[in-house]
Symmetry: C2
Subunit: 331 residues, 2 copies
């Protein structure tokens, strides 16, 4: 990991094309009828699950759930298919979820660059895609996303042809300017991203990027739920909050940013429909907001790559009860 974070984001086009051409599933994906699909993963690996959930919401006939926890719901069992995604391969939550899936007789696939997940996949003959090492998980988003799409294609669930044809948007020469604008707007505020359920994964990605890279408090809100409670918090003007509306042109989001502006808040309305392909919009704006949060960090002399408090937290976890998992024994 000697590359700096910005260089990693600037290579997203090359990384995507590489993943598209090079990644293959090792081992055979079961084609038996499945009753449901689970996407298990945390943080930058977990976002991929959120994206797939939104992508397939109106497209598939089996239930899909995302799991960002140590345990699986009871209804996940035999005949469910679990995709375990962990860039490092050592995410404790995902190892627990994977172990439990195997114990219940669910079918599995693993996406990882290394670590325990890769080791277990090989030992237990679980089909896997090994993504490239050497990145930080959040910068490896295109690798993890495309690997997951390859598994969905093998499962005959979804073929991302349009997305693959649109990867060129990652070379758009407006990206750096738009990223600058956003970075200047956010400044020292608490940025609050507001979007709809469909683009929640993008809102979450933006929040996480400003957390990790710029070390800012941030949050994400979605319509229509926003209009039932959060909206009232904006009646007062206090604290250093700013709103960024990720607007796909829907009637409600067009209302939201004007509503907030009329209440005297600082609002940035961003029209995110650069394509009619969902995944294309997701990856494009993930790049823009990623770079934007890095630029903000750099402008303040903050190291965007380093996440000291996560290291401290992981040190604690190593000595916690949760780390006492013996994969072989549990099987």
């Amino acid at each position: 990991m000697t590359q700096d974070l910005m260089s990693m984001y600037l290579k997203w086009y090359e990384l995507s094309v590489h993943a598209l051409n090079a990644y293959r599933v090792e081992g055979e994906i079961s084609r038996e009828l499945i009753e449901g699909l689970v996407l298990s993963g945390m943080g930058g690996s977990g976002i991929v699950g959120d994206v797939i959930y939104s992508l397939l919401y109106d497209k598939v006939d089996i239930p899909i759930i995302t799991i960002k926890d140590y345990s699986l719901p009871k209804w996940v069992k035999k005949r469910w298919f679990v995709i375990a995604i962990s860039y490092s391969g050592n995410t404790l939550e995902t190892i627990h979820a994977m172990t439990e899936s195997l114990r219940r007789g669910a079918k599995l696939a693993v996406i990882t660059s290394d670590g325990k997940l890769l080791e277990y996949a090989k030992i237990y003959k679980i089909p896997f895609i090994k993504v490239d090492e050497g990145y930080v998980p959040r910068a490896a988003f295109p690798l993890l996303l495309i690997a997951t799409l390859k598994i969905l294609e093998e499962l005959n669930i979804y073929k991302a042809s349009k997305f693959y044809e649109s990867l060129g948007v990652l070379n758009d020469n407006k990206i750096m300017n738009v990223a600058d604008e956003i970075s200047n707007f956010v400044g020292n505020s608490i940025p609050i991203f507001i979007t709809n359920s469909k683009y929640y994964p993008l809102g979450l990605r933006c929040k996480d990027e400003f957390n990790e890279n710029a070390k800012l408090i941030s949050k994400v809100e979605v319509i229509p739920e926003w209009g039932h409670n959060d909206i009232v918090g904006w009646e007062s003007r206090y604290g250093n909050v700013k709103a960024i509306v990720l607007n796909d042109g829907s009637e409600i989001l067009n209302y939201v940013w004007k509503h907030l502006r009329d209440y005297g808040h600082e609002v940035k309305n961003i029209e995110i429909n650069i394509s009619d392909d969902y995944l294309t919009n997701i990856i494009y704006w993930s790049k823009v907001f990623g770079i934007s949060s890095i630029k903000l960090a750099l402008s303040k002399g903050i190291n965007p790559k380093e996440t000291k408090s996560i290291s401290k937290y992981k040190e604690f976890l190593k000595h916690s009860k949760l780390a006492r998992i013996n994969f072989r024994e549990k099987m």
Copy 2:
């Protein structure tokens, strides 16, 4: 709705006992085998769905999903059971979801006090529970929760005996003092509630209460996801944020509040396990935080009941495309 909001919360014990004794399902709940359960509802009605999801996470063999949107995922169809919850009965999102469920041949039950949902339930012979009118939805939480539990009991999914035996906790004489303490702690800050996935519904309830009653910006975060990104935002100290940890005694939550304290943040650690029954903890702390947010509003001369910006938003919705739903035609 001439009662003030505080009086409504102070009656939660009486309301709960009344709901327990008086509520019956009108019409017959289908006992055919179901393949999945949907809880559809927004805001104060939607929270009930979140609570049921967490409650049944490790208890049932069919997938459960909560929907806070106009549309249903494609996989919800015949042989799924949809519980549509809307206190007013006129929530646009829930009317859409209900209509779509019927169109797809799913089984249904309705929980409402009035409005279109009640009208349609009667016309289309959908089993329903009519809860008492005259409250604001967020104050009617015990009514909506107990009505939903009655439906789950009819479906042979869950029997809340322990919860019903524990309703007396709502008369606990410490509630007002604890509510005062929290209200003083929050003051003019942006309160951030941190808990685990299991207690996410409580965290969300707290956030929504401070939004609606105290007109504050607020947010909720859950572990273990918190440790993968949000934690980094707390490395800086800026803005007027304060953390409230809703701690059920888990190893990680015990770490979280100390971690934040060590980083110099103002943190309140609240031990929420007053019972070993999940629902008892949920309703007890919902009352405490509800009252706390009302007290905070009153101390500032703010009307806790009035939510002007929601009224304004609903006015917009009335004239939006989303309001153009013709139930009979859609059927």
